[in-house]
Each structure stands twice: as C-alpha cells, then as structure tokens.
Symmetry: C2
Subunit: 236 residues, 2 copies
C-alpha cells in the first residue's frame, strides 16, 4: 500500500459492503462469481465492481470471474481485518454501553479494553467484564497501553477537548458518536456516526417522496395522517 495512488473515499466506503456480500456467498458455498452476477445482487454496475477492485489489484480471471474465497480474503487484508485492534470507549452512557455489549465486534477482532467516564456511579463497575474507569486515569492508560481507536460517546460539549487530549497522547483513530465535529491533527483519522443527522436525512427523504405525489399514499394504512404538531423545544 506504500506509494500507490490515493484511493477515493467512495471506493473505501464500498469495501465493507463487498466484504459482507462475499462472506455471504462463502457461507452459501459458492466458489466463483462474475462481476455481472455480483452487480445484480448488490444493485450496482459490474463496471463499478471491476473498477473498484482494480484499485487494489487484479483479483479475477478472464472468462472465469472471481474466486469467492480468494477475493474475500484479499478484501479482508485490504481492510486490515487480519489482525486485532484495541479500542477504548469514552463515555459510558447508553450508546457507549450498547457498543461494549455488542459482542460481534470482538468476533471480528475489535476488542474493547476499557471504558472511561466521569460518573462516580459507573466508575468501578464492569460491563461484560470490561472495567469502567475514571476519565482522570485515561492519560496514564493511553500512554501505557496500545489504543488503536477511541470510541467517543460523550456529550457534545466535552467531546472536542477529550478528542484533543487523546490525539496529544497518541491515539490515531476516533470513532465519533458525539454530535459535534472534531478538530484534530492531520495524522489522526476521525469517522463520524451522527445518528441524529442520519435520522434527519431519512425524514427528509420520506417527506420528499410523499409531498411529490398526491396524498394517496398517506392513506396506506387506512388512517388519517395529519402531521402531528411539534410541541416542545430542542437542544442536544
């Protein structure tokens, strides 16, 4: 991966989806697949699949297609899923706890090692065997243990400072669930999961779809569908 040309974000974002489909094919004991067949399954063009894969190498064979297991393993390597990663959770609230309890991460090699919080009622507890520690001890922990990714699930007011500290202490990846944009140095990678934003775009698309047409569809389940009125305030 050393001195090759930069892969576009659009391509990278599709890799996990390829990986998932290939895993499913593997499960179904399918040994080969053409870009054409895969394109039908995935609802994208065969051309795009071939272009995407050829960013990383020629994994196929003319007249044959792709060997499912081989391609699966190659993408696994490209995504770096052939090793394990150490993660910490910063913010032991609802979402933080849910992620700790999500056992599939561990099966894939994403190991949550510790949770940090400010809440005295949480500190000292364990969640699925993983300790919750005072955020004051985080600096020492990060400096003495390998931490590949910090999962940020804390209030938006606190996230920027914490991200900044973590970056200073050497953490290179932030998976940011806090509803704020983080300013970090160039050598730190941030991936945002803005759930509220995601829900908003969903609502926009629903509204768009049903305002473009006559009100026919609104009656789909036989009920009147006057928009409910917004009652109270907001902030997050």
């Amino acid at each position: 991966m050393d001195n090759e040309k930069k892969i576009s974000s659009a391509v990278i974002n599709r890799l996990p989806r390829y990986y998932r489909y290939l895993g499913d094919l593997l499960e179904s004991d399918i040994t080969r697949i053409s870009s054409k067949e895969l394109s039908t399954k995935m609802n994208i063009t065969a051309s795009q699949i071939r272009q995407d894969l050829n960013n990383f190498g020629g994994f196929g064979q003319q007249g044959y297609g792709y060997n499912v297991e081989y391609l699966y393993n190659e993408i696994k390597k490209i995504l770096g899923l052939d090793r394990m990663y150490n993660l910490i959770v910063v913010g032991g609230g609802n979402i933080g706890q849910a992620l700790v309890n999500y056992t599939n991460f561990e099966k894939r090699g994403f190991v949550i090692k510790a949770v940090f919080d400010v809440n005295p009622r949480l500190i000292g507890m364990t969640i699925r065997g993983i300790g919750v520690y005072d955020v004051d001890s985080m600096e020492e922990y990060v400096k003495n243990n390998r931490v590949d990714v910090a999962i940020l699930t804390l209030p938006r007011t606190q996230a920027p400072k914490v991200a900044n500290d973590l970056a200073k202490w050497g953490v290179k990846g932030m998976w940011n669930f806090s509803h704020v944009d983080l300013q970090v140095p160039d050598d730190v990678v941030v991936e945002n999961v803005h759930l509220t934003d995601s829900l908003m775009t969903l609502l926009y698309k629903i509204n768009e779809m049903y305002s473009e047409e006559n009100d026919f569809h609104h009656m789909a389940n036989g009920l009147p569908v006057k928009p409910l009125t917004q009652s109270d305030a907001e902030e997050e």
Copy 2:
C-alpha cells in the same frame, strides 16, 4: 417542494450539518453570517454553501449575508423538523434500548412509541416508560397507529422479513441498524446505519495513513506497536 427538480443526496446529507452549525450560531447570539465566514467554520467552500442553499431558495441578501435565525428556521422546515414523528423500535437488544434511552430524540420531535421483540424476558417490560411488546402484536399496532419510521435493531437474519412485513403494513421509513441490505418497494425509504462498516472504513484509513509513511508515528506513545494477531473466527 412539489414539482421541483430532484435534490442530490450529497446536498441532503449536508443539510443536518448546516442546521447544527446555525443552531450553534444562534446559541451564541450571532445574528448574521456570510457564506464566506460559515465556509471557514465548516471547512467547506463558500460556493458550495451558496449552491446548496439555492436548491431550496434565496435565503440571503447581497452585501449582507444570511440572517442566522431565518436560515435556521428555513432549514428546519426543509428537513421537516417543524412537526413530530412517531417511531417504533423493532429489536429490544443493546442498540434498540440505547436508542430508546436517548432522550434527545424526543426533544427534537422524534417520539419512540413502542418496542417490539421476541424475547419473553423483555416483553411486558417498559424502558423509560415505553412498553416492550411481542412482535406478534406488531401488525395490529402498525395498522392502528401512525408509524412514521421503524427502527430496525434486530439480527441480520430476521431483518429482511420484518422490513418486508412493515412495508406491507404501510410503514414508509426504515432506519436500519441491522447488518444487511433491505429489499423494499420503491415507495419505502431506507437509511442504513452499518456500524461495523463504519468502523472498518475507519480502520482502513488509519492503516493507510500509517503504512504510507515510515514507521515513525507508530512510536508516538513510546510503545512498540507490532500488530496484534487475529485469534478467532467471525460472523455476525
């Protein structure tokens, strides 16, 4: 919004972010802002901001810029945030519960009305006052109550069937946290939150960054950083 040209997905995805920044400005009692200033804050071009906004109308004024409160409220309307929405959660596991407990949704007008699950130990419980019901009663519920969005937080094996049923019963929006792609009719909108995929792209970007350079950065926190070895299997 009736017979206007289709707005691209790229634009729609940026709207919540504009909304967030304008909300922050409003909080700070800033009354006006130019596309130039906002572009600096948001780290995008002023041109893009003006292009984006002009998809929906001319909200600014030459020589002045944009009135923050006015623009904020216009985007609020565009996103449909001036009304309330009824949501149900299908799958009362970790993530489902975390979303129910996330009180900020309600403040914005996203009201979770019910949770459905198959687990007898959950059925009959309440989470933050919201009932957990047998999934067998979901058809009746959906047909007799307005449901704007179903939040799917169930195992990937069950999600496609449930999504199909919900669509049949008239639910027009699916917020899909299950790690699978859903096949639904044209008049149903799906927004995916594939957490595992998101984490994978983050890891890719970290690996890419640190394989492009010499190993200097790996020493950042003074520790050796041999990749850990992947131990066990995977599936999700």
